[in-house]
Amino acid sequence: MAFASSRSRPDPAAAPDGPAYLPSSVRNMVKLVVAGGLGVGKTTLIRSVSETRSLHTEEVMTAPSSRVDSLAFTPRKTHTTVTMDFGRLTLGESGETVLYLFGTPGQARFRQAWLDTAYGARGALVLMDLRRPEVSYEAMDLVEESGMPYAVAVNDFPGSPVLDAATVRADLDLHPETPLLFCNALERESSIDALIGLVSHSLDVYRRNTGP
């Protein structure tokens, strides 16, 4: 640990593997959550749009485990960690605003970890693989329960059933105001379009709630 005892301020650029320091220009950080079941493209979308990508973990308790401690004969609670990834994107010329995207599965059994990560988020993009839409249902439920504005983005996977928007909306039981977007998480432009769709919707919701 080369910098362990240094009190000086090293140039962040000089330490590419060091901490992801915030540039001094940053005034506003905005969090959006990218949610959805296993393998729906969360990491891919975050990677497509972000300048940097990092990992963080959350500690979760996979509460009282069925395993019984053989010595004490007491049920043990098992601590485990879930890994989530997040990315960062600087917006505007002045570099004042930074968008953070947090990828999180949104599984009911990791509810507290989800809430901790999502705290303060201004919106959620729920990714959907139409070949197996059910894997994202728990995430949708958690997002709805949290009350944050959200949009659903159907990822363009090979072999996906070709369904019109009305059918998908009905299948997912979407509220009429919830945007239904179609995107290819492998492509930056398309991923940015999905984020634009989400943020437009969030803005509408926040405007209405802070109305005159």
Partner: protein, 118 residues
């Protein structure tokens, strides 16, 4: 994208916080910005506390980025940051200065400009 090089992880999360697991109400948002208070000498800190302080010595860090760097759960770093906060060694700054609507207008505007570079 290459895999991030391992690890500066020092102790398991549980040990890092001395067994404390309760969440800090003061630091609910993982985008809370940790800022070093200049000129404050560090008293006797535990190794994990010291490690976090050293990281923040180098510049401002969000809780999430600090957790990523230290390879500790955010829940653990939240507690460590709370300790440093109590000791007056760091400050915790809210993620955003602007009200929600202006904030989101800026984000929307910024995203649209990304699509159409001037």
């Amino acid at each position: 994208m290459s895999r991030r090089r391992d690890p500066v992880r020092i102790t398991p999360a549980y040990l890092a916080t001395g067994g404390r697991t309760s969440a800090r109400r003061a630091l609910p948002d993982v985008l809370t910005r940790l800022v070093r208070v200049d000129g404050r000498a560090a008293a006797s800190l535990s190794p994990p506390q010291h490690h976090l302080l050293t990281a923040v010595d180098g510049g401002d860090l969000t809780l999430a980025d600090a957790a990523g760097h230290l390879r500790l759960p955010v829940s653990a770093v939240r507690i460590l940051a709370g300790d440093l906060l109590d000791l007056g060694l760091i400050q915790a700054v809210e993620p955003a200065e602007l009200p929600d609507v202006e904030l989101l207008e800026n984000v929307l505007d910024g995203l649209r400009k990304l699509k159409k570079p001037a």
